[in-house]
């Protein structure tokens, strides 16, 4: 069975939104900067609640920010 990964566009969206810093995004979605860094490195899969908060901050549908990528 193929191993699923979650890819995301957080880093690109952050720069597109007035070059928002990781700390600013972390404060807006109520998580730590460490979590944002790991999200951008695709080393952490957010909960649905966190993914929805991120989507709300960027004003994008959650499925345009996160995608399932299978090997």
């Amino acid at each position: 069975m193929a191993r699923a990964e979650i890819r995301n566009q957080i880093r690109r969206l952050r720069f597109e939104h007035a070059e928002m810093t990781q700390q600013e995004l972390a404060e807006r979605v109520e998580c730590t900067r460490q979590t944002i860094i790991l999200l951008e490195k695709e080393r952490y899969v957010p909960s649905l609640a966190l993914a929805l908060r991120i989507a709300r901050v960027f004003g994008e549908p959650v499925e345009s920010i996160f995608e399932l990528a299978e090997d």
């Binding site: 404060e27 109520e30 998580c31 730590t32 900067r33 460490q34 979590t35 860094i37 790991l38 490195k41 080393r43 952490y44 957010p46 909960s47 609640a49 966190l50």
Partner: protein, 183 residues
Amino acid sequence: MSILGWGIAAVVAGMGVIAIGVRFIAAKHPGPPLDEPLPTTLLQRTARRGLVLGALLSLGLVALVLRFGPQRVLEDDPVRISFTVLLVLILVVFAWLTLRVMVWVRREDGTLDERDRAILSGSQGLRSVAILMTLVVWMIGLQESFWAQGAVPIYYLNLVFWSCLVVSLLAFPLGILAGYRRQ
């Protein structure tokens, strides 16, 4: 083996569980590449402080017991006072760490994010197993040493309790720090 040896083995067994658990977690989930050092979280910094303080105080306790023996530690006034002071300080560190984390858990202001909470939850398992292992080794040691007499000298009850407290104090922050290695 002497009863003191069993006591040392009990604490070593508890710490051994922590060491194996930490190595297992780190090996299975290596940390992020070093090209970008991660900022530490409040929980990580607190866990590190608790670990350093706890380790220093615990070494002091162990040194006292090894130097004077378990009976003198409780019967010799100056030694008992030193032992008691160290124990009180360990309890203070333990209470500080536990209460601080409990307050953060109850807050909904983002002090702990979802990842912090998941790591905290996972750290409890390591702590429980470490304490259990310490108790198992103590039980074996006390039975081996005192089965013929049919009774355990009362000062060993203190040592069993305090060694479990020490293992718990060290396992808690170690479990948290190991959880942050799990990326």
